[in-house]
Each structure stands twice: as C-alpha cells, then as structure tokens.
Amino acid sequence: MIRDITLGQYFPGNSPIHRIDPRMKLLMAIIMIVATFVASSGTSFALLFIATLILFLLSRISVKTLMKGMKPIVFILIFTTFFQIFFTRTGDLLFEWRFIKIYTNGIIFAIKMFIRVIVLITSTSVLLSYTTSPIALTDGLEQMLKPLAKIGVPVHDFALIMSIALRFIPTLLEETEKIMSAQKARGTDFSTGSLMKRARALLAVFVPLLASAIRHAIDLADAMICRGYRGGSGRTKLNVMKLKFTDFLWLFAAAAVLAGTILCNPFTLDVIKGAFIK
C-alpha cells in the first residue's frame, strides 16, 4: 500500500530528540552531514557511529521503523560495498582466487563507506524526518532564512508553499488510494498487462487526482482569503519558537562531534604533530 512508505514520515513522540528546537535540529543535521564527509580515520568513524547510535536510542524510534526507511538504499549500499571490496587494488593482498583479488584497503574502504552511508541516513532521518513534524521543520526553516527577506527573497512565500505541499502529501496519498480502490472496484488492473495497458490504467487515477488537487487548491485559496490572509508582512506566529538552554547544549554536542571527527583525522593529527615538532 502507498501508505507504507515511511521514508520522510514523522513519528509523533515526546523523546528528548523530539523536544529539540527544529532550528537546532536543522543545524545539527548539517553538522552531522559535514562530519560524515570530513571523517576519514577509524577513530573518527567510531566516534560518529557512537554519536548516531546515541541519537537513535534517545529518539525511541524502533529498529524496525528505521530498517523500513533504509530499504530503498540497501541496494546502493550493497552495490558500493561490493565495488569497494573487489576493485580496490591497494594495501596487502588478503585473498586471491583466479581473477578475484581482495586487498586490505578494499575491506577498510568498504567498511568506511558503509558506516558513512548508515550514519548519514540515520542521523538526518532521526533528527529531521522521524522526530520533527513537517510543519515544525518549515517553521524552523523560515525562521532561519528570515534575514534573507531583507534582500528581497520571498522567504515567507517559499515557506508557505513548502508547508502547504507537505500538508497535502498525506491528503493526496489518501485520495490516490481512494481513487485507486474505486477504480479497482470497477475492474482496473494496475499490476498486469502490457505497458500501454498499465499506463491506461494509471490514467484512471491521474485524471481524477489532478482534478481533485486543483479543487483542493481553489478551496484552500478561497478559505485563506476568507480568513484574511494577505501574505507574510506583519504576520505573527501562533507558536513562537523559543530556544532553551538544552537546545544550545545539543548544538554544542553536535559541534563537539564535528570537532572530534576533525581532530581524529590523520591529516589534522599530522598538522598538530608538525606544529609541535617545529
């Protein structure tokens, strides 16, 4: 069923991660992404892995949910790991059988790659999609980008477009499912037949769906005008976001992880050593 797609789905809850300010979560996610890309030594990867594990455990998201969200990238993960193992030709030769040669570096690169992808996906999805409601996320984004409004960027409009789009994803998904069911009840076969036949079957869904999306758009616009919507200027928020002390602690923790990752890299270690030797 369409509703089974969990990638990018919010799971309501009240864990410590859920309670972090969305702006901080956005910053933390950016920091974690940067950290995964600068990490290169084993220690730095271990550090990142532990940090992600802590985030995940604190969020109280079930392993099953996370695994379900990972499904789409499993193939890419296996594919890249495979390439790293079999096509890296540096380091010591570990294993040889006819044309297959496995080197130590291949194994090491593969493990690093694997951790990098896992950490990247887990940390961002735990911080953002699983624990932050889409509305909170766009609110946070709008607040963060507010300074850009001064140079004429329509930040509010973009945020509104985004939150409306996000708001209507479940509605349209539900509608898609309903229309699909209704057409199935009229004998539409979505899963067998030639490509043309299936495309024709989908037409029975797309036409009503498009009509309904337009209807929603008109209704929403009317409703907004009736309630006095005139754009972003002078508009106040119902829920004013306030940064708490703990939010700064979280940001500090994320920054510490990034600093730790950089410090543990062989390159930085060399630089530090060089400085002392001088």
Binding site: I179, S181, A182, K184, A185, R186, G187, T188, V207, P208
Partner: protein, 288 residues
C-alpha cells in the same frame, strides 16, 4: 446465497504507531433480494465493511464469504469479486475520468471483457435506471452538474450488473429532492432486478423510507439487525449509541404519550399522513 461475515476483524496500519482497530470479531449477514440499510456512528466501521464485502480489504482475521465462497481464498479470482459485488464509494463522482459520461459508464463493463453490443446495452440500461438523459451521455463528466455526476458514477457500477450492490452514502451532499430521487431510483432498480442492495447512510429517514432490513452498528460490532419495527422500537437505546429514530417516529411517539393511539408504528411521513387523515376522518364521522 448471501454475503456472510464470520468473526471478521480489521486493523488499519498494523504494527505502526497509527495502528487502529476498525472491526473486532464482526458477524454479519446480508440477505439476498432486499435492501439492507447499514447505519452507525462515524468511525463504527461502515466504510470498512463495504470494502471488505468485495475484497478490496482483506480481513486481518476471520472470513468473508459471498455465495458460499471465501472471497479471499483465491487471489486470481479477486477481480471477479469486484464484478460480483459492485461497490459505489462515497462521493463517487470524483472517480470519473473518461472524456464522456458514456465512456465512463462503459469503463467497468469494458474491464469485464464484454463485447461492444453488450456494453452498449448495459450503458443504456444503467443510464436509464439512474435517470441520465441521452444528451448528457455525450458530455464530459466535468461539464455536468454535481447531481448528474453522482448518477453517472452510480451508473458506472450498475452497468457491471453486479449481484450485490453496495453504496456508501449514495445520497450525501445532495439536496432533499436529489436524495429522494436517487434513492427511489435505486429502490426501483432493486425491485426490478431482484438483487441485494446495501445502503450505508447516516439518515434514519432514508433508512425508514427505502430499506427492508437495517443493520445498526454499535461501538463493538452489530448492535441490532432486523426490520424497521424491530430497530425503531426502542428509541432510548438507539440514542444510547449516538443514533436516533426518524423524526416522524419521534412525533408519533410523543403523540402517543399524550393519549393518541395509532394502529401501527410509523416511520415515514407518507404513512403518518395517511394514518392521521384516517383518524381525523373517523373522528369526523363520530361527531355526526
């Protein structure tokens, strides 16, 4: 053979935080050759039952049998169930998509693999039953009125000539005249074809007027199943599960408390008018 639910449970979003039990151990029988009304509060699982009847939903546990066959037993025969148990969804007019009303009504029969002559006959038949005029058949479904669209959508299911016809709120959102019109046409259709029709509705008036039997759904399963007289005999209990009896029954109930005796329980305005007139007539004769 009727549609039989045996100990059917249905859970939405199993194993997710959104898990929600819609039905729990439901037993239910829908008889042939009559109109069954399915009534219950919002969230009592009416629409879920509708989609279990034709196999769009598979019960989490329990079985649904139609004509003595478990409809979920053979995956390959799934489509046959759709044709045998016609289901008209809520607001079915939003599923119209073909370029003309005629083509849209023909969509179901075409999926059944019928030949052109048979399809043409069925389309004409279905259009006649729901009262669609010749000229609107060649129009785009987006160009006709809301009431006409509703008719076209219902005709689309009728054209498949199902043995069972289930309609989820077929009259919702229509004006009173449109309501009566569409429901009367459905009743005529049922009487002519002798099939089983299930109407899901919130309106006790509609139930009283058009249904032979009524199923009342409570919080956990079927609260009561029976004829109008059996269902509306206890207005207090009905109110207890958030439902009510037809307004005219309430009026007559009050009148009886004031000492006016009627020969039979009354559920429709038409019958009430008849009885009241008869009574007045009798009184007039008594005076002379």
């Amino acid at each position: 053979m009727p549609i039989v639910f045996d100990n059917v449970s249905y859970v939405y979003g199993e194993n997710t935080p959104f898990e929600h039990k819609a039905l729990d151990g439901l037993d239910l029988t829908i008889s042939e050759n009559e109109i069954t009304g399915l009534i219950g509060q919002t969230g009592s699982g009416k629409s879920t039952i509708a989609q279990l009847c034709n196999g769009l939903y598979k019960p989490t546990s329990g079985t649904v049998t139609v004509d003595g066959v478990d409809i979920n037993a053979d995956k390959k025969k799934r489509r046959d169930n759709f044709f045998r148990v016609g289901l008209v969804f809520q607001y079915p007019e939003y599923q119209l998509f073909e370029d003309t009303v005629e083509h849209d009504i023909a969509y179901g029969p075409k999926n059944m693999g019928l030949d052109d002559a048979e399809i043409a006959r069925r389309v004409a038949d279905a259009a006649r039953f729901v009262g669609l005029e010749e000229e609107s058949l060649s129009k785009s479904p987006f160009d006709i009125s809301g009431g006409q669209r509703r008719r076209a959508a219902i005709a689309g299911i009728i054209a498949m000539e199902p043995k069972y016809l289930i309609l989820d709120e077929p009259a919702s959102g229509l004006d009173p005249q449109g309501r009566d019109d569409i429901l009367t046409k459905l009743k005529n259709y049922q009487r002519e074809k002798g099939i089983a029709v299930v109407i899901i509705s919130h309106s006790m008036e509609d139930m009283a007027k058009y249904c032979d039997k009524i199923i009342v759904l409570g919080k956990d399963g079927v609260y009561k199943y029976g004829t109008k007289a059996e269902i509306f005999a206890d207005p207090v209990a009905l109110r207890g599960i958030g439902l009510s009896v037809p307004q005219i029954t309430k009026v007559m109930y009050k009148a009886e408390q004031l000492g006016v005796k009627f020969e039979r329980p009354l559920y429709t305005v038409a019958a009430a008018i008849k009885d009241v007139l008869k009574m007045l007539d009798g009184e007039a004769r008594d005076d002379t």
